[in-house]
């Protein structure tokens, strides 16, 4: 029997079975990520997968590469140090919406501004799964969560818009229904030199889905199928109203941080300061 290629990147020893709930979307996102890594021609020793705390942040523990499970919200600054001290490593951050956008929100915008080469995969399931389904910065107004028993009063972040406004050079979105599409986007993000964000709209049937009566995982995936629109198909902005816009939302060129810093090193070494 041929062992699927993705197992070369998965720790099958003591780590399985995994902790994800039945029907969770995080496994699909991980699958797409691993395949994107393999299709990018990367080997186990080339990659460092970094995360914070939360359901999505448990993914690195299953990956057979260097993995860095850091503090809640701190995946991006931790990844920043890894990349700068070892620039040849392909650094991939995987994070949930609470981790990346609430406690880690400041790091997120500043990393995008800095444009250090890294790929950030945001798994957005609209709530804090690990702690039991509390509202997050992406919970839409009016939706229910464990800390929003009367409906969430706050407005939600659009992580892609924030990343773009902060200076990210590549911003894309897909869903856990569109797994092939998602894989292609992650591959593009890995290839891109600079700060790249891929937002994955994902289902949490155990908490967010249940609290909002969205049905089981299949029903939620069907919702993603029926309520998405590809950015390339939008002719009139009205067509996108109430829909999840997927595809490459933003793709520009800008100087990458370490490339610029290498020039600083060259200049500093040419005109040595003396103490």
């Amino acid at each position: 029997m041929k062992i699927p290629e993705i197992f070369e990147f998965i720790r099958v020893d003591e780590r399985l079975p995994h902790i994800l709930c039945p029907g969770c979307g995080i496994g699909s996102a991980m699958n797409a990520m691993v395949r994107a890594i393999i299709e990018s021609g990367l080997k186990n020793d080339d990659v460092c997968v970094v995360s914070g705390i939360g359901c999505s942040s448990r993914i690195p523990g299953y990956i057979d590469a260097d993995t860095f499970h850091t503090l809640h919200g701190r995946a991006i600054p931790s990844a920043t140090g890894v990349k700068l001290a070892h620039p040849e490593l392909e650094v991939i951050v995987i994070a949930g919406d609470g981790d990346l956008l609430a406690i880690g929100g400041n790091h997120f915008i500043h990393a995008a501004r800095r444009n250090l080469d890294m790929t950030v995969i945001l798994i957005n399931n609209f709530n804090y799964g690990m702690t039991g389904g509390q509202a997050s910065p992406t919970t839409p107004q009016g939706k229910y969560a464990k800390t929003a028993p009367y409906g969430w009063t706050e407005r939600n972040f659009d992580a892609c818009a924030i990343a773009q406004a902060s200076g990210a050079v590549f911003v894309a979105r897909s869903t856990t229904y569109h797994v092939t599409h998602l894989r292609t986007l992650i591959k593009q993000a890995i290839k891109k030199k600079g700060f790249a964000l891929v937002e994955v709209i994902s289902q949490c049937p155990t908490l967010y889905g249940r609290l909002n009566r969205m049905g089981d995982a299949v029903k939620m995936l069907e919702y993603f199928r029926d309520n998405t629109i590809s950015i390339s198909q939008i002719k009139d902005p009205k067509e996108a109203e109430g829909k999840i816009v997927i595809g490459v939302l933003h793709d520009v060129e800008a100087p990458e941080y370490y490339e610029t810093y290498k020039e600083i090193i060259r200049r500093a070494q040419a005109q040595k300061h003396h103490v």
Partner: protein, 381 residues
């Protein structure tokens, strides 16, 4: 691995500010990654690193806050670099979660805390020694760190190198607990031709998070070395695999994190004694307070008063044995500190049957010899 290297600066006498000497000490020790956030009175360290690190091929990062600074430094350490950050009280408070993570993941890193008068914003430009207990106990959970306290520009240089060496050797965050006085003091110091440095053991191992001994320090392969590391701040076994529900794993890990420091006190604890043999009046001090105490003790000795000074260079872990030895004949033990009495609590705990007198000063000024003499006179007939 201990090794002797040539000093980065040409060996000679220099006239420098403490903060600059600290940055030069870090570079000499091999620091090649610095991440920080501006804060008085430590900013000169950061500014100097921004000039000097690119010259030696290292990376300087100004991060968005102190939390990001310490986390990126921890990341760089795992990618193989020797790393440092510097801050002061408010920033040090923010760094505590990172310090706890560095303890748990056994990440070598150096944190310079140039203490200023607090609490909160306090007196940003004024000295204090108010972070002594925070350095020791600030991060949550049972843990150990190492903290060193410099009293001169020479030691801002020397002890920064030592801090790197301890940190690399024991895989533990090491804090240089300076204060505004030594940080902004300008005086001459000597750079020797060679220094002793310690580079961490990067041997590729299956078990980078455990040893057979209960007080051992495992080798630390870094990212990109082919170790396929599992680094986590959650409770983990010797392989790095999360074992958060296993009481034995938790006990073994936390015990080792503490014992690898406690059982190596002989190597880590640095003290200096001045006239402590048979001293009737013992002064116990550290940092700039020790310098004032030294002036006091010298003056008292000239007046034939049997006074001595025990200076703590390593504050944490605390050297109990040396204190007991020096206090054998002491009628009164004075502990001058630029706080309301912090390290004195440790001394009272260790010497419950002796007269221990705190000399606190929290006016945002250095503690002067006259402050100490005034209290001493009350106890000297």
């Amino acid at each position: 691995m201990k090794t002797i290297v040539k000093s980065l600066l040409a060996p000679r006498k220099y006239f420098m500010q403490g903060n600059i000497a600290c940055a030069e000490g870090a570079l000499a020790a091999g620091c090649r990654y610095y991440a920080g956030y501006p804060i008085t009175p430590s900013s000169e360290i950061m500014e100097h690193m921004s000039i000097r690190l690119p010259e030696v091929g290292g990376v300087f990062m100004q991060m968005e806050d102190e939390i990001a600074s310490i986390c990126s430094m921890i990341g760089a350490s795992w990618a193989g670099a020797k790393v440092m950050t510097a801050t002061s009280g408010p920033g040090f408070s923010l760094m505590l979660e990172g310090i706890g993570y560095a303890v748990m993941t056994e990440t070598p890193c150096v944190i310079v805390d140039v203490q200023r008068a607090g609490p909160a914003t306090g007196q940003a430009t004024k000295p204090a020694q108010g972070d002594v207990m925070q350095a020791r106990w600030g991060a949550h959970g049972d843990h150990r760190i190492i903290a060193l306290s410099p009293w001169s520009v020479q030691e801002m240089y020397d002890l920064t190198i030592k801090a790197f060496n301890f940190s690399e050797k024991y895989r533990v965050p090491t804090i240089l607990l300076a204060d505004e006085v030594v940080a902004h003091l300008k005086e001459s110091f000597v750079v020797k031709p060679e220094i002793e440095i310690y580079n961490r053991d990067k041997t590729l191992t299956e078990t980078p998070f455990g040893t057979q001994e209960e007080d051992g320090v495992p080798p630390m392969p870094c990212f990109g070395q082919g170790a396929q590391l599992l680094v986590t701040g959650s409770t983990h076994n010797e392989y790095g695999i999360r074992k958060v529900a296993d009481p034995d794993v938790q006990e073994r890990l936390v015990t080792r994190l503490c014992k690898k420091i406690d059982n190596h006190k002989k190597d880590i604890c640095l003290t200096e004694r001045y006239f402590t043999d048979n001293a009737e009046y013992l002064f116990v001090a550290y940092g700039i307070s020790a310098r004032s105490s030294y002036a006091v003790v010298s003056e008292l000795r000239e007046s034939q008063i049997n006074a001595g000074l025990l200076r703590y260079i390593t504050i944490w872990p605390f050297d109990e044995e040396t204190l007991k030895e020096c206090a054998l004949e002491a009628k009164v033990i004075f502990v001058p500190e630029m706080n309301q009495g912090q390290l004195v609590l440790e001394i009272m705990r260790i010497l419950p049957h002796q007269k221990v007198i705190p000399i606190p000063k929290t006016r945002g000024e250095a503690i002067y010899p006259s402050d100490i003499i005034k209290v001493f006179r009350k106890y000297h007939e």
